[in-house]
């Protein structure tokens, strides 16, 4: 029996937030992100029979999604009339002259920071996988969506003191998991 098996009916509940957060920083458009994720699910279903079970379901879905994101950029690039201009600064002819321009700007780390924070977010979602599914859902509603305590209590039919116990367990587990895998 392979180490990992596919269970497509659980994909949305288990991975959609993960896939979405992965995509949104890369394409920066909600609608495009949603479309790419739809395409990813479809492509995954079509090639499910080739899944060997070596990787986890999540890793496998992400590998398909990566291709979809690359394809998306290829498509919009070719739509621009292939006006790709290449500037080669560092040929022998003007060596030295442009070096100053090529020095990385230490104060402009926003892109790297954003990617790093996104990876942190993905690590958080991955850690949430290891806790009880319902507790993870409640934690997400409270912490990520910022929903009201009362609204969540009604939604999940629990009391506020139940909620705080669940939040406590989730936070403790999450802190321990992040400590191990991130910080």
């Amino acid at each position: 029996m392979p180490a990992n098996e596919l269970d497509p009916n659980k994909w949305v509940d288990k991975y959609s937030d993960y896939l979405f957060n992965y995509t949104i920083v890369r394409v920066n458009d909600r609608e495009v992100a949603n479309d790419l994720i739809s395409e990813t699910f479809l492509a995954a279903l079509k090639s499910a029979k080739y899944f060997k079970g070596d990787a986890s379901e999540r890793t496998w879905l992400i590998s398909i999604l990566k291709r979809k994101i690359i394809d998306y950029y290829r498509k919009i690039n070719s739509r621009k009339g292939k006006a790709e201009v290449k500037i080669n600064y560092s040929d022998d002819y003007n060596e030295g002259e442009w070096l100053e321009e090529q020095v990385p700007d230490q104060f402009d780390r926003t892109a790297e920071d954003e990617m790093e924070n996104n990876e942190l977010g993905l690590a958080i979602l991955e850690c949430l996988d290891s806790i009880n599914e319902k507790h993870a859902a409640i934690f997400k509603r409270k912490t990520i969506d910022g929903a009201d305590t009362e609204a969540i209590c009604n939604e999940f039919n629990i009391t506020p003191s139940n909620l705080w116990v669940i939040i406590h367990r989730a936070r403790t587990a999450l802190a321990a998991c992040l400590e191990k895998n991130w910080f």
Partner: protein
């Protein structure tokens, strides 16, 4: 008097969690602060808890809206059923 201001660790943890979501009442916050002055374990918990809140904030995580999830679920169900006919 002591009942009013002194709380145990589990109560302190609850106040600490509530304050991560800005839902601790002023009195609860005060009790927590008093507890923290003499409880090292809770100080440690409290600092980890704040660190976690900061990490979550920094990560700018978003969730997909429920309608979108529903659409995907149905899409998968449909395709999955077709493939297995």
């Amino acid at each position: 008097m002591s009942k009013l201001f002194f709380i145990d660790c589990s109560e302190a943890a609850e106040c600490c969690n509530k304050s991560q979501y800005k839902e601790a009442k002023p009195l609860e916050k005060m009790k927590l602060l008093i507890h923290l002055t003499f409880c090292r374990a809770c100080r440690k918990f409290s600092s980890k808890n704040s660190k976690l809140s900061e990490a979550i904030k920094k990560s700018k995580l978003q969730t997909c809206p429920e309608e979108q999830k529903k659409a995907w679920r149905e899409q998968i169900k449909r395709e999955f059923a077709e493939d297995n006919v």
